[in-house]
Subunit: 266 residues, 4 copies
């Protein structure tokens, strides 16, 4: 038996997110009355996830990140899942939940994996060398990544897109980061990798790759990369679900008998 | 047989949310490059759900609404569900999905039901009387609601809170709407109902009730009320999931053998 | 404030399903050691849901019901949802969960609605007339249903199928119920309705309609009708998910750019 | 760009599970009319997952496996999740979906991990030595596992239980396998590991460990181990959800203000 007693601790839950008392709610140390009055919703998200308010510069770039995830039409499996579920007559929250379940490692997993790659490279460099990473160090980290992936025939996470040769969201995000002076070591690394990969394979950073770098520079854990993606994408998914429920009468089929080939017995 | 042919229509999907083409994404008529550069995330949400950008006044109040839904600590069933699932070792997106499934008619359903009530009253009044509803009409609609619910011993949707006698979020939202001159007929009706209900039952509008009125004045469908609530609450749920995954080693049990009474056979 | 205190009751959970103690589990009054050794899995399901073991006759027909729900290929939205989620790289349990979320009122909801219809008719007849309903009473109830639905141009729940003119599962279930002498008042009613509907509209009972009648005769609540459907269908869904994960490399798209028409601004 | 064209293949789906045509459904090569009439539900599950009908011996032990997963009261996180969601007023299918999302690697993941361990050991032994593995080989594999886990202070998957020193389900399953002559190499290995682990740590195989061995001897892939667990557990979860919906009026809280400690700012 792994445990000798069957009791749980009396204070079963500790949290640093919010304190609730009669007629008062405090979140991350701020009275919600003040938050409602004074802060932007994108800053509220930053506060919830990072535990502190963003600086002005951080707030600006984080807002770009959130907007950039908003929607990619009906093409992603998550949006198709949401519409399938909505069209079967399930409630809106069930359809959103189903969409989230499509964020597997092949779909939305890229952002987490890319953040892990960038952060492990940069933190190793910081441990070995001096904390202020210079361009020479960045270049040598980029070559490491290039060797580990491209030269071994492996897909570089955060690169390439099914529909775009230049992902317009990645392109604009990088442009904004440069314009607003928000270029940290992770984004420098991503751009250095892009130089090598583009020359060899003619593919560029996609929206996940650019955001993985920016969110890493903003101090987010890789797991929260998926979290930020979810936050950014949920409004678009809800727009699709609402459209489906308003417009469609019968339940949707994405394929029908003619599209199905039976390869089993007899 | 309900249908005589097995084929689906060739263009299986129509959407007004986004158009995707090579290297370009257009959402609600705007190039995403421009959206990423120029608009606030809360305005992006409005654009996705309402199909147009908000006015300055609308943008301000909609931002307050989004922030007000952010978090209520570990007390809601949805947050407890999220933490239970996270603590079992499931991925973050599964835990968020589980939380959304807790938004049943007893939990997050209030906002939708309240919006339906306010909107049906106001639209009926507009049909019968002149479109600019005056205070006298509002007062008579409030009395109708009072009779249909309070005098029949039924719970008025959007009123009262388990933990608060004055829900600080509702209170602040109403304060902001007044201060910023954003008082439409639905909020007027909600406040008129509050006057009657408070006198009789000593309970006030809760966060769902106040937001149901404001979102109705903003032109949202009742179903999208739940959608806005989900958008506002997901970041807080993600903060709780991340905390759970960082802090907790074993899987969580909210009750244990001592808390369970068996009432079955033998 | 709806409540004056913030405490929960000390025994937070009562259950008649199972009692767990050290080295012993009792379910519905039976020691699980005995259940594992002695009963069939289909009887175990009956025991869990109905609180008692089935008679031999009940066990036989309930087994037919469970098998009849097993699979309908890739055509249902739930199976397509499961495969979409599986193909995105999410774990098997997430894909099953997503499939369940597609069981909305347009898809799997029919069985519950049909059980409600049959049970309300039969229980009303029992209250008014003598409890042993005779064929004349059944005939008059069937005419009521015919008038309420067919003559008002409404779809009769439990009738017709997108792909079948004679649903082979319904046909076989009715054959088995007759052969094994398991014809209760609900199935009699369903067959009497079929006589009227078939003459007028040339459509017959589908698998949901036949099972709604049989499960009602077995004493199941309408809500558990959906439960039995889920139990019967989950193995098939898992077979599809496993197939998808084994065979498919990239994530699945049920539609692509050419299949999508943008109807929004600009 | 990863792909040069935007088209999907015309036959978008291949499946060996079922073929659907007008008035006829064939599953795994059998007409569903025959399956409904002739086979037990547990054999139907085997057929769906393994692609063939079980032998008599296989059918008997697989039935024990399914029954053994049926229910563990309100103690598992999945059951608590199901009841939380049900108590919020969400539909039954949403509550089942939520429960499935709790089957993370700490909860139901053990069975898959244990199957991987047993199968990798046995298949390696088969490659190196002759395919009929003798007891001496089993003993040496068990020692390998013992060294890799126990001597390195790691938890052996499939061993120990929070509430039981002898898991009554594992105990009975092993008893039945011996009595019915169904002892393959994977179960032999599990029992050999148990001898070593019990002597050192006083813990035994749990229900996941015993079933992981039996399902491996039945030829199931590790991923389908989780599938079989889900199939076996869903009926119990539905029983709990139905109980919750019948008995409970307000939404459930597993903890309340007194149980929560705020550890954040201010």
């Amino acid at each position: 038996m792994q445990e000798n007693n069957f009791n749980v601790n009396p204070h079963s839950l500790k949290t640093a997110v919010s304190r609730v008392e009669k007629d008062k709610i405090v979140t991350r140390g701020y009275n919600q009355r003040d938050l409602i009055e004074k802060i932007r919703y994108s800053d509220m998200i930053f506060l919830l996830l990072r535990g502190r308010l963003p600086t002005l510069k951080e707030a600006r770039i984080f807002n770009h990140v959130l907007v950039s995830f908003c929607d990619h039409g009906v093409t992603p499996p998550s949006t198709q899942t949401a519409r399938l579920i909505a069209s079967s007559g399930s409630p809106l929250n069930s359809a959103v939940a189903g969409a989230l379940l499509s964020f597997g490692h092949k779909h939305a997993g890229a952002i987490e994996k890319t953040m892990e790659l960038y952060q492990s490279k940069i933190s190793t460099a910081r441990l070995i060398d001096d904390p202020d990473i210079d361009n020479k160090q960045i270049a040598s980290l980029a070559i490491e990544v290039y060797k580990d992936y491209v030269l071994k025939g492996k897909k570089v996470p955060g690169f390439g897109h099914r529909y775009h040769s230049t992902d317009p969201r990645a392109d604009k995000l990088i442009e904004m980061a440069i314009k607003e002076g928000f270029i940290g070591p992770h984004l420098k690394l991503a751009l250095a990798i892009q130089d090598l990969v583009f020359e060899k394979k003619n593919i560029k950073l996609n929206v996940d790759g650019a955001n993985a770098a920016i969110l890493s520079d903003l101090g987010f854990d890789p797991e929260l990369g998926l979290g930020v993606f979810i936050i950014g994408r949920v409004p678009g998914i809800i727009a699709h679900i609402h459209e489906e429920k308003m417009d469609e009468e019968e339940f949707r089929r994405f394929c029908d008998l003619d599209d199905i080939e039976y390869v089993g017995g007899r």
